[in-house]
């Protein structure tokens, strides 16, 4: 058979190409710049992210809605574009959060931005992957740099431990996932998700081998999104890693895992909801409950936010659990709910981490008690932190409230008793979560300042910009939730 090169749509691939070019430039420039000029690197990286955003906007405005390449293995549609924009936005905010951190801590700069961009490239590719091989390659491209970023504080034993735990469990998860993928390939003879989806409805129904394969793949991604009981790495990794990296892991890397799950479940495995429906249901209920209950008794704020982000992953798993029930009645709204929650979660969680970084610049501590009386000497930070925390808790009129509304609407659209039960578990958990989120607010507003040290906190400009962007999104979306009204055609993946 002669080789025929695939026809590529370079407009659709432009964001990936620009990102690749910029990360190569960052790595090369790092070689030739002397120490006093290393700050240029973060500017190059930020400029690259903005440049990669341009083709995404032009693609969104173009008339062609779906651009499919390589026999449907790589698809650029509205869903992919929204998530690519999200990943680039998250990358930009993380960049703003890390510039001063990396510079002041005297860590390697060029390599840091290079790895950050590589990881982002993996996520951008992941948004378009509709093929098992592409999903695997994208997953590793986004994970391997993240393993290294987690251990960036080389002399710190906690950071070492964070890196190794993340690495070992991440690799174990991808091995389990690959085993499942090999079985799926063996049974269906293809790796393209659309073709797999056709066979799932037909001759792959009720096959024990396929059931096993789906379970393996979902378990693999459950590690990635830190769903209970596969979450054991997350708190230690989040606490030990440098804080900007923790923000990156808890938002971008987790979203990457959810994007892969969305594509696998809605395009590939939708016909087998008898397997993944109950599985996601159990994962979601366990993840919400365990995450919230353990978060209640944390004394370190990063660790608390780690468990909080585990619990948030539980909320995001709820729409997955109900998507296939009742003959897929709620599939469309479940899909939209997941994407909306991912977008809102990114803004509010990054914001909370930006405050943690700002406060730690003065207190050098992650203990919750060090937030005592924050309102007295840094009222702006205290108010913003409360906004982010109450948004995470889902208090109106903040963005987090609408994200939860979307989830509960998906629950009602599904309409089965199991879906409603899961909705009740989610509602109870939102109440539990309010306890630990508001305990920090109480610490900031009511409690005295430890040691009476009231010197104000100097927040560098990049960090202020990061706070501004995230706070603006949380408040604007909260007051004007119609922003999401245009996302109706997002659910193009839903069968």
């Amino acid at each position: 058979m002669p080789f025929t090169p695939p026809s590529l749509d370079y407009h659709a691939l432009a964001p990936e190409i620009i990102l690749t070019a910029v990360l190569a430039v960052v790595l090369l420039a790092d070689l030739f710049l002397d120490q006093s000029r290393k700050w240029l690197l973060s500017n190059i990286a930020a400029f690259g992210l903005v440049a990669a955003m341009v083709p995404i906007i032009s693609l969104a405005l173009s008339d062609t809605d779906v651009r499919s390449m390589v026999d449907g293995a790589y698809v650029v549609d509205n869903f992919a574009l929204v998530l690519k924009a999200l990943f680039l936005g998250v990358g930009f905010v993380v960049l703003l959060m890390s510039t001063n951190y990396v510079e002041d801590g005297d860590y390697y700069e060029g390599e840091f931005y290079f790895l950050l961009l590589s990881s982002l490239l993996g996520m951008v590719v992941m948004s378009s992957s509709r093929d098992l091989i592409t999903i695997f390659v994208a997953l590793e491209t986004l994970s391997i740099p993240a393993y290294m970023l987690a251990g960036w504080r080389k002399r710190d034993l906690k950071s070492n431990e964070a890196s190794l735990k993340y690495y070992l469990l991440g690799v174990l998860a991808s091995a389990v996932m690959l085993y499942g993928m090999s079985l799926i390939y063996g049974f269906t003879g293809t790796t393209v998700l659309v073709d797999i989806g056709e066979q799932m409805a037909g001759n792959a129904a009720n096959q024990p081998l396929v059931t096993l394969a789906i379970v393996f793949i979902i378990v693999g991604f459950a590690f990635k999104v830190s769903a209970v009981p596969f979450h054991s790495w997350a708190p230690d990794t989040y606490e030990g890693a440098p804080t900007p990296v923790t923000a990156f892991l808890s938002v971008a890397s987790k979203t990457g895992g959810f994007v892969a799950l969305l594509q696998l479940v809605f395009v590939g495995f939708f016909g087998r909801d008898d397997v993944w429906g109950p599985m996601f249901g159990i994962l979601a209920a366990l993840t919400m409950t365990v995450g919230n209950l353990i978060a209640l008794r944390q004394t370190n704020i990063v660790r608390m936010l780690a468990y909080s982000s585990i619990a948030q992953a539980g909320y995001i798993l709820v729409p997955f659990a109900i998507a296939g029930s009742n003959g897929g009645a709620g599939a469309g709204s479940a899909f939209t709910a997941t994407v909306v929650y991912l977008l809102v979660y990114a803004a509010m969680n990054l914001g909370a981490f930006a405050i943690v970084i700002a406060v730690a610049r003065k207190t050098r501590s992650g203990e919750i008690t060090s937030y005592g009386g924050l309102y007295e000497y840094a009222p702006g930070l205290a108010v913003l932190m409360s906004i982010f925390l109450f948004s995470l808790a889902g208090i109106p009129p903040l963005a987090g409230f609408w994200a939860k509304v979307f989830i509960f609407r998906a629950v009602i659209d599904a309409g089965t008793s199991w879906a409603v039960l899961l909705g009740v578990v989610a509602a109870v958990n939102s109440v539990i979560a309010l306890f630990y989120y508001s305990s920090i607010a109480r610490e900031m507003f009511m409690n005295p300042v430890p040691d009476g040290d009231r010197t104000p906190i100097r927040v560098p400009t990049p960090l202020i910009t990061a706070l501004g962007i995230t706070a603006a999104i949380v408040i604007v979306v909260g007051v004007y939730p119609q922003t999401f009204a245009n996302f109706g055609d997002l659910a193009s993946l839903v069968p």
Binding site: E140, L172, G186, G189
Partner: protein, 99 residues
């Protein structure tokens, strides 16, 4: 072609790998166990590819081999980093954080 033997071999190797990851305390041995799991996947992919007479399985396994190499490179670097800081790579000793 006898597909079952290959699948059985792969399943056994995969289980050995999982056992190694769970039971071993030495970080390097855990890395080797993960390699076993990935190679079980390769056997699966190549056996299925030969059985179905299409090339996707072999292509997939090439990707797995290449990425596994990159992964182990990073893993060994992390283990080396820890060895430099503590002169020990026992995973059970690695418990700075709890809770």
């Amino acid at each position: 072609m006898y597909l079952n033997q290959f699948l059985l071999l792969a399943a056994i190797i995969f289980c050995l790998g999982v056992y190694g990851v769970l039971a071993r305390k030495n970080a390097v041995l855990v890395l080797m166990s993960i390699e076993l799991m990935l190679n079980a996947v390769n056997i699966n992919l190549i056996a299925f590819g030969a059985f179905r007479n299409n090339v996707i399985g072999q292509v997939f396994s090439l990707f797995v081999i290449a990425i596994a190499a990159a992964e182990v490179g990073v893993g060994l670097a992390i283990v080396l980093l820890i060895f430099r800081n503590r002169a020990d790579i026992d995973l059970d000793e690695l418990a700075q954080m709890k809770g």
